[in-house]
Symmetry: C2
Subunit: 308 residues, 2 copies
């Protein structure tokens, strides 16, 4: 595969992932607490814990391994916080996206969606509170993170989540139902809706580890290609996977007349496009000449080949 160093073959990705997932789950569980006014922490924990693939946190942590920070322990702490922050933003977006006024989905990760389980009002508030908590995590009260890093991470996350990122992409998505989009229009939607946060995950991890400006550009390319590949694969899976494998209702896109890469390029065309994007992600990593990119390489492979 182009650009992948030979050393990556020896990388124990399963072991790495298990270790990092343990780190993320423990941190999320400690920061999203049940102890809360009117039990609002319960739908928050339900939305966040037990079941996510944690792709975004893994991207943060993998990107943080490519740098040479002056203080590794401080960098690790920052990366854990950034990993959890991007996951909280992702989790809140799913809660709101599943609501009746949006996608009206009743099943998520094989469980009832938050509004089905807790009611719409609690779902709305839990999502709102998760977004606030994401920013809170990035600025610990005890000065554990350098203020410049906290501020930088807050800005990256706000941009990725906001009107010119995820929320704007969802607005395009809503406005596009039943429309015939060009490939460029479809890509713009996905670059905002899911790509921005995936790319921000990479960039935030790199910032935690003090990766240099020039190398950041290559990581940005990696994140952009990977982010788009993720969505193309998602569209493929919506067609080929059944509901049980997917953990959410399959065939929703076609049913709701949403434009997809499959409807635009055909099934095989979409699969080829995903492969090409993953190759580009690998090439960007190679161009960065950064050390310790094995986890980022493996995550790109995972995105390209995932079954759910």
């Amino acid at each position: 595969m182009p650009g992948q160093p030979a050393a990556a073959a020896a990388f124990d990705f399963a072991g790495w992932t298990a270790h990092q997932l343990g780190r993320v789950e423990m941190a999320l569980s400690s920061w999203v607490t049940a102890d809360s006014p009117a039990d609002l922490g319960h739908p928050m924990r339900y939305a966040v814990l037990d079941g996510g693939k944690r792709l975004r946190p893994l991207l943060v942590l993998a990107a943080a391994e490519t740098g040479q920070p002056a203080d590794r322990a401080a960098s690790d702490d920052a990366a854990t916080r950034a990993a959890c922050a991007v996951e909280l933003i992702h989790a809140y977006s799913l809660v709101h996206d599943d609501m009746p006024c949006m996608d009206n989905d009743v099943l998520r990760r094989g469980k009832p969606t938050v509004h089905v389980q807790f009611g719409e009002a609690q779902a709305l508030l839990a999502g709102d509170a998760l977004q606030a908590l994401a920013f809170e995590l990035l600025v610990p009260g005890d000065d554990a993170l350098p203020a410049a890093l906290s501020a930088h991470l807050c800005r990256q996350l706000a941009l990725a989540a906001g009107v010119h990122g995820m929320a704007g992409g969802q607005a395009i998505d809503l406005a596009s139902v039943g429309l015939k989009l060009t490939q460029a229009e479809l890509e713009r939607m996905h670059r905002l809706k899911t790509g921005a946060l995936l790319q921000a995950s990479v960039m935030m991890g790199a910032a935690c580890a003090e990766v240099g400006a020039e190398q950041l550009c290559h990581l940005s390319d990696y994140g952009r290609h990977l982010g788009l590949a993720f969505q193309v694969v998602d569209d493929v899976l919506d067609v080929v996977a059944d509901t049980q494998t997917l953990g959410k209702t399959a065939g929703k896109d076609a049913e709701s007349d949403k434009p997809t890469f499959v409807s635009l390029l055909g099934l095989q065309g979409a699969q080829s496009y995903a492969s090409a994007l993953i190759d580009q992600a690998h090439a960007a990593l190679a161009a960065s000449q950064l050390p310790n990119t094995a986890a980022l390489h493996a995550l790109a492979e995972l995105v390209g080949g995932r079954t759910h």
Copy 2:
């Protein structure tokens, strides 16, 4: 009135307010732009511009006048950003709060609510994007604010907006319909639901102007008393004002069987309690021995005596 310096009598509050409102409206209009994916900026602008009393921004700007910052221009810029950030959080909370799954209100500031005007999905997304934008404003990309101040403001805002602040208070509110609350329980709800953001407004303004730690404690007291007074007056107004004066549907609380200070203390009792809280706010200002508290004094008077 206790604690109010004689100089305050000469303070041109109307002139001050007009000047600060102009500053806030111009900044909000420039930062909440119409140019956006799928026109999501339109419901965002509709929610934010033209019609708010801007109490929270005025508190930020008034508190920022009490400090002696090393760089006044930089402090003013920070305060403008903080003022707009708290208003965006307030605005998003109103958008979500008005939705059918929450208070189901169709009228706000004399206009159709956002979901009535733009649909529920756009309202949900516009609110989400406004929250993200609030944090974005606090971290300008050009290093215009010191990173330590940006980070501090982000943390204050996240805490005030989140599960142990505004969102948690709204969860208590929802869970309290039809229940008989004690005064302590009612106060806890309001300290979170509206008090936290009002108090944060004062503290964020003070942080922008480098107010010292001991004096911050007094300003914190001021903000707490004022925040609670605001809600007591709100309950009084819900009973005595008509819909046209209020700009929103009057009598909603009694109709929806929500506990209020009026139902707990009676109309006159609630009015007396509001006056006592405003007196405490003035006393906290006097205890701070800060200069230039005339605007904060006048805002407390405004909260105590407002008709809408």
